[in-house]
Each structure stands twice: as structure tokens, then as C-alpha cells.
């Protein structure tokens, strides 16, 4: 790997993960470490705008089995900002349509000499299976309703930037918890860093079973609103369900849309977040999405910072493991 600028510092000896598959298995220290390095990369690149060369000679493959523009672009830009090359492989739906297993697809791409695979797939666990079957590093870019670790990390970084810390904050995830990988990654990450997490949404989309993990479950946004420091508004994923989980979008918006009236009953410094894409008028009204409490665009910038850190850390751990195995 090329020399790392002083502002980033040496590769952290306590980071040993070649893959970033989920936040459930990360320790609080590991999460803090990624956040810290993301902040350093953000600063060293003038807010994720200028280039470094720490990943020169490395190639990152975006292996996307599900439509995505935002996450794929974010990973590509992050790799290029660090001087790496990227290659995109997209296939809508499963590789099944071509009669090839997804593991074969990934092995084919690996054989082209890439160093890291970012995988997005509609099926939970696919990144885990790839990590078991490939030599290269794997970063989960979202697997079904399971996890989206870089999204969770960028949400947490955005909160930390505004508030300085996560511990003690009350963060509500609002909406379609059942089908949200963003919710799961946030739950694990926020809990580990000491936040109080509330899951809020219609009872068909929020399971009471989450309570056993020390999470609060609420059905009424109005009830919890005055206590919240952060609201993360999740999109209703109609495409992932067979029957409608609520009678109408109108009824959902009446109960859960974050609008000016609700904002007036919230804390003065409440942060409004959304992982996007947002359905304006459903989860959030335009005036709130674009208003002073919104950190939605900061989330996007922080996505680059988190992905730079994740790429650098996983590739570094893989290089370290390779050197050690040669000894």
C-alpha cells in the first residue's frame, strides 16, 4: 500500500477484520475506530472532495445484484478518492437467470485480479457466503433486510459530528423496521455506543421481540417525539412485502409522517435523518426534509468518509493477513 499521509496515521494494529459484513459482531471499540478513521479521511480530503493515493494499485469491484445508484456511486467515489480503481458488475435479480451461482459470478470477478468486493444482494447472508468462498475482502453493501453496515456507520457518524457523542442520546428509527437493513445496523451500532434506541412504526412492521435486545418498541410517534434527540425516518419497502402492512399510504402518513406540526412538538435541536431514497410526503414532508434540522445531505457526504475508512481498513487487514501467512 502507498504511504499513508500523516493526517491519517499508521494502520491501527487492533483492526484485524478483512471483511465488514455486519455491525452485530463488531465491538464498540471497532465501531469507534471506523468512525475515527472516517473523520480523518474526511478531513484529509477536504470534506471528501480531494484525492489521496493510499489505495493506488487496488481495485474494488462493486458486485450489485440489486438496483442501487446511491450506494454504488458512493463506494466507487470513495475508492477513487483514495486512488483505487473500481469496476462495476450489476445484475438485476439473481445470477440464477443466467444459470450461474452468485459464488461463481464472484469467483469469476475475483479471478480478474480485484482486491475487494462490495456486494449488494436481495438475500440476507450473501456477503457472509462470499466471504467464506473468496480470498479477497468483502464489504456488505446491503443484504436484503439483514444489515447495511456502512449505512449504519454513516448515520452514527452524522449524529456524532453534530452531538459529539452517541452515549445517552435517544434515537428513534421510524417506519418499516421489519424490512430495513438500515434499522438493524443502526440498532446494533447505536446500542453498542450507549444510545437509547426506540423502534417506532405500525405494529405490522415493528416486532415486540426487539425488546429482548434492550430496545424500546413504540407504535405512536406522537408519544415518543418529545423525548427524541434523533429521528431516522425509514422508507416503506413495498417491494419486499406480499400484502400491505397498513390500510393506506394516507393513513401511514397521518400517523408517522414527520411534518412541521410534529416538528413543533419535538426538541429544539432534534436531528432529522433519512437513509434515502425518501418518499416525500410519506415519511417526511419537504419542508422538514429540507429544513434546518435535516442532516440528510450530511449523511451522503459522511457515506463517502465511512466507505473510505472501511475500504482502507479491510484492504489493510487483508494485506496484513497475507504477509503474516507468508512468514
Amino acid at each position: 500500500m502507498s504511504t499513508t499521509p500523516d493526517s491519517i496515521g499508521k494502520f491501527p494494529p487492533n483492526w484485524t477484520r478483512r471483511h465488514l459484513l455486519d455491525l452485530e459482531s463488531l465491538s464498540a471499540e471497532e465501531i469507534q475506530l471506523v468512525l475515527d478513521y472516517a473523520s480523518r479521511f474526511k478531513e484529509a480530503t477536504g470534506g471528501c472532495r480531494t484525492k489521496l493515493s493510499v489505495l493506488a494499485g487496488k481495485t474494488v469491484a462493486n458486485l450489485f445484484f440489486e438496483n442501487s445508484t446511491r450506494t454504488r456511486t458512493s463506494f466507487s467515489l470513495a475508492a477513487r478518492r483514495l486512488g483505487g480503481d473500481t469496476v462495476d458488475f450489476s445484475s438485476s435479480g439473481s445470477s440464477l437467470s443466467k444459470g450461474e451461482t452468485f459464488i461463481d459470478t464472484a469467483r469469476t470477478i475475483q479471478a480478474m485480479g480485484i482486491d475487494l468486493v462490495v456486494v449488494r444482494h436481495p438475500t440476507p447472508g450473501t456477503p457472509t457466503l462470499l466471504a467464506q468462498n473468496l480470498e479477497v475482502s468483502v464489504i456488505n453493501g446491503g443484504d436484503g433486510a439483514h444489515e447495511h453496515p456502512t449505512q449504519g456507520l454513516l448515520d452514527i457518524l452524522s449524529i456524532r459530528e453534530r452531538r459529539g457523542t452517541i452515549a445517552g442520546l435517544t434515537v428513534a428509527m421510524v417506519g418499516d423496521i421489519a424490512h430495513s437493513r438500515t434499522a438493524r445496523s443502526n440498532i446494533w451500532g447505536l446500542k453498542k455506543l450507549g444510545a437509547h434506541v426506540i423502534l417506532c412504526g405500525p405494529s405490522t412492521l415493528v416486532s415486540k421481540d426487539w425488546e429482548q435486545f434492550g430496545v424500546e418498541v413504540a407504535y405512536s410517534l406522537d408519544d415518543i417525539l418529545p423525548r427524541c434527540d434523533v429521528l431516522n425516518l425509514l422508507r416503506i419497502q413495498f417491494e419486499r412485502q406480499y400484502t400491505r402492512p397498513f390500510p393506506s399510504v394516507r393513513e401511514y402518513a397521518l400517523l408517522y409522517a414527520m411534518n412541521r406540526e410534529r416538528l413543533s412538538r419535538a426538541k429544539d435541536d432534534i436531528l432529522i435523518m433519512a437513509p434515502g431514497p425518501i418518499n416525500r410526503g410519506v415519511e417526511v414532508t419537504p419542508d422538514v426534509a429540507d429544513g434546518p434540522h435535516s442532516v440528510i445531505l450530511e449523511q451522503v457526504t459522511n457515506g463517502l468518509a465511512i466507505r473510505m475508512a472501511a475500504l482502507w481498513l479491510c484492504l489493510g487487514a487483508n494485506a496484513k493477513a497475507a504477509t503474516e501467512s507468508q512468514r
Binding site: P122, G125, H146, S207
Partner: protein, 426 residues
């Protein structure tokens, strides 16, 4: 005249409440007698330290032929059965084409005869083409030799058709074997619905999907006087329903697979498709209920639901991979390791659920060592310890979650119709 003497084994035959160390004589393919002297001039097998059981019966096997010979054939499936200690199996009709005509039943019998491994009994379809719309020609199928009816893989979802099937089968005294699952509740699901599926973001099959149909089938059997056999029970709710129905005198029987008394949904955390089956691996509470059902007799039968799938199919994403695992060669050792060794079941009770109970449900003259019976005998080594290497299994498919498991107990010698068809390599 061929004579074979099995000497000094612990002969366990629940059909005669027999459990003692003695000699068993076979002549011309039939059981001739017990307690014969050891010097009767016959060819001898020394069974000292071993268990001599009626040939084991697995009433729930997917042989895949015709139609999916890349997964299993009748020849490889029956070879796998022998290696697992089974002398008779019943094959399930979800083949391509399904077994819903006399011709297909006869094809199975012919292929089984050509393979010349173990006995194969045919479970035929309840409905034409397994579509659940109209009854298959059950009378013709009985004539061809079908021993029971099932649309397994697909539940008989139409309650009216199920009722008719029960009523119509009264003429033949054949049981209906149903896979109980309300499909509206399991769309897109790959595992048990519970905390684990919630955390993994995988669509789950609620226990209620099984219990609702178990309950329906019990009610229909009670109303018609028909015979229902609930396949591969997996929930505490269904075990309870069956227990209560039996006390009321409903003609209901049931079976459980080794994976449902051994593993839980926690296994899915590995995302390994060898833990994907239907019904799914459920919670510890459900495992405990299955074990209690085995102990108190609510669960009559241990079966495998042997479901071979070629590697390339199981290597797919978890939601694309097919349901099911192979089981013929792991059933007996899992019974020993998980039930007998920990003292959950004693040997006679376990053997009863692997021999005479399935024989009675299917109405076949097997599962006994009574004088005059077909000489199907399984000699079991109860103490041998070994590690499962899936590549060494006889089944064409290797989709088992038990690879690398240290197991105890194995079939040592398997005799079908008086002939030694399998001998375990030492």
C-alpha cells in the same frame, strides 16, 4: 436351502415385546425361529455386543426418480437406505411426473427391483398431478400397490378435497399423509419465524402455519373417520394438538425427523442452506416438545424426509436454494447420539418408532421378527463412534448439515429377504 444364523445378539423386537440376547435363524428368506442352538449348521453372523432389530423402515423418503435423477435415483437412494440400516422405505410422490397413475407406481416398483437393494413402497398422490384440485384415481393406485397417499411438498390446501380424500380412503383403509403448512402464511419464507429470523432479516414461517393445518386435518379426520398421518411434525403446538386428538380417539399418527429433535433455528445464523428445510428448524421449545412427544408416544414414527438436492442447487442464495436435507445415512446415528445415549428413549422404544409403528401405519407386513415374517434384519452396532464425511455417503447428494459431526451407532449388517445387502466397512 439357504440358512443364516445370527448369534448372540441382543434381539429387540417391539412387535413381540422381545428384548433378550439370543440367536435368530433365517431360512430361505424367512424368520424361522429364535433361541435355536448355535451349532445348527447354518452360515453364521456373530452379533455379540450388537443389537438385532427388525429391518428399519423409513416411511418418508424422496427418491427423486423419475424426473430429477441429478439429485438421486432409485438405485442410489436405496443404496443410501441400506447404508443407513433401512430395509424398507416408502417413497413420496413429488417426482416429475408425480406418482399419480398406475403406470408410475409400477415404474417405481420395476426400478426398485432392478436396483435390488431394499424394499420400496410407494406413497401415491392424493390429487391428480399434485395440484390439489381433484382426486387422483386412488382405487387404481391401491391396485397398483400404493400404500398411502400424500401430496407432500405441497399441502392439500383445499379442505373440501381433503375431506373427500378421507372419506374415499375409508374403502381401502389407507392413511393420508399431509404436509401441514398454510401457504398464505409462509410466502417467500426460508426459516422459522422468531427472534433469529427477525435479526437476520429473513422471512419466517410462523409455527401457526403448521398448527392451523394440523388442526384442520385432525378435525376432518375426526369428522370422517379417516386416517391422518401428520408428516414431519415440528412445532410444540402441533405435538399438543395431536396428543389431545389421540386421547379423543381420532385416527391420527405422526412422525418426526432427526433434525427437528436435534437442531434449532439458531443454526441459520451461518446462512448455510443445509439448514434450510420445510418445515424449518424451530425453537428450542419446539425441539423439547418433539422430544416429549417421542417419550410419551404422541409421536409414533421417526422418519428422515430424505430430500437430496444436487450441490449446485444448494449453493445458491438462501432464498433460491431448495428446501431439505438428506437423512437416510444419519438417522440411526442421530437417534443413538441424540436420544438413546442421553437416556431420552430406550432401545426398544426407538426401534418401535423405526420398525413396527411405520409398518402398521402403512399396513405393510414388515417391521417384525415373528416366525414366518420376511427376513429383513438390521444388525446395529450401538457403540461405534465415527465422524460423518458427507463425501462417503451413498446418496447421490451430499446436502447434510451433519458433516464433521461425531456420531455414535451405525448399521453394521443389513439383511433384506434373508440376503446380506450391506456390511459396514471396518
Amino acid at each position: 436351502m439357504s440358512r443364516l444364523l445370527i448369534k448372540n445378539g441382543r434381539v429387540i423386537d417391539p412387535s413381540q415385546k422381545l428384548d433378550r440376547i439370543t440367536n435368530l435363524l433365517i431360512e430361505d428368506g424367512r424368520i424361522v425361529g429364535l433361541d435355536v442352538p448355535g451349532d445348527s449348521g447354518a452360515e453364521c453372523i456373530d452379533a455379540t455386543g450388537k443389537i438385532v432389530s427388525p429391518g428399519l423402515i423409513d416411511m418418508h423418503v424422496h427418491l427423486r426418480e423419475p424426473g430429477r435423477e441429478e439429485d438421486e435415483t432409485i438405485a442410489t437412494g436405496t443404496a443410501s437406505a441400506l447404508a443407513g440400516g433401512f430395509t424398507s422405505i416408502a417413497c413420496i410422490p413429488n417426482t416429475e411426473p408425480p406418482i399419480d397413475t398406475q403406470g408410475t407406481v409400477e415404474f417405481i416398483h420395476h426400478q426398485a427391483a432392478r436396483a435390488d437393494n431394499c424394499n420400496v413402497y410407494v406413497v401415491a398422490c392424493v390429487s391428480k398431478n399434485r395440484e390439489g384440485k381433484e382426486l387422483a384415481e386412488l382405487g387404481q393406485l391401491v391396485k397398483a400397490g400404493a400404500v398411502a397417499f400424500s401430496d407432500d411438498g405441497a399441502p392439500v390446501f383445499d379442505a373440501e378435497l381433503m375431506r373427500r380424500a378421507f372419506e374415499y380412503c375409508l374403502m381401502f383403509d389407507k392413511p393420508i399423509l399431509n404436509h401441514c403448512e398454510v401457504r398464505e402464511l409462509t410466502r417467500g419464507a426460508v426459516m422459522h419465524e422468531g427472534t433469529v429470523s427477525m435479526v437476520l432479516g429473513l422471512a419466517g414461517m410462523p409455527s401457526a402455519a403448521e398448527d392451523v393445518m394440523t388442526s384442520r386435518d385432525i378435525a376432518l379426520a375426526a369428522a370422517t373417520g379417516g386416517r391422518i398421518h401428520i408428516m414431519h411434525v415440528s412445532t410444540s403446538g402441533s405435538v399438543d394438538l395431536i396428543r389431545r386428538a389421540k386421547t379423543r380417539g381420532v385416527r391420527v399418527t405422526t412422525e418426526v425427523c432427526p433434525h427437528h429433535f436435534t437442531l434449532t433455528d439458531e443454526c441459520l445464523r451461518s446462512f448455510d442452506s443445509n439448514y434450510k428445510m420445510s418445515p424449518p428448524l424451530r425453537s428450542q421449545q419446539d425441539v423439547d416438545a418433539c422430544i416429549a412427544g417421542l417419550q410419551d408416544g404422541t409421536i409414533d414414527v421417526i422418519c428422515t424426509d430424505h430430500a437430496p438436492h444436487a450441490l449446485e442447487k444448494k449453493m445458491r442464495e438462501l432464498d433460491q436454494a431448495p428446501f431439505g436435507i438428506v437423512g437416510l445415512e444419519t438417522c440411526l446415528p442421530l437417534v443413538v447420539t441424540q436420544l438413546i445415549q442421553p437416556g431420552i428413549l430406550d432401545w426398544p422404544t426407538a426401534i418401535e418408532k423405526l420398525t413396527i409403528n411405520p409398518a402398521r401405519i402403512l399396513g405393510i407386513p414388515k417391521g417384525t421378527l415373528q416366525v414366518g415374517a420376511d427376513a429383513d434384519v438390521t444388525i446395529i452396532d450401538p457403540d461405534v463412534e465415527w465422524t460423518l464425511d458427507p463425501q462417503k455417503m451413498r446418496s447421490l447428494s451430499k446436502n447434510t448439515p451433519f458433516g464433521g459431526w461425531k456420531l455414535r451407532g451405525a448399521a453394521d449388517t443389513v439383511i433384506v429377504g434373508g440376503r446380506v445387502k450391506f456390511k459396514r466397512a471396518v
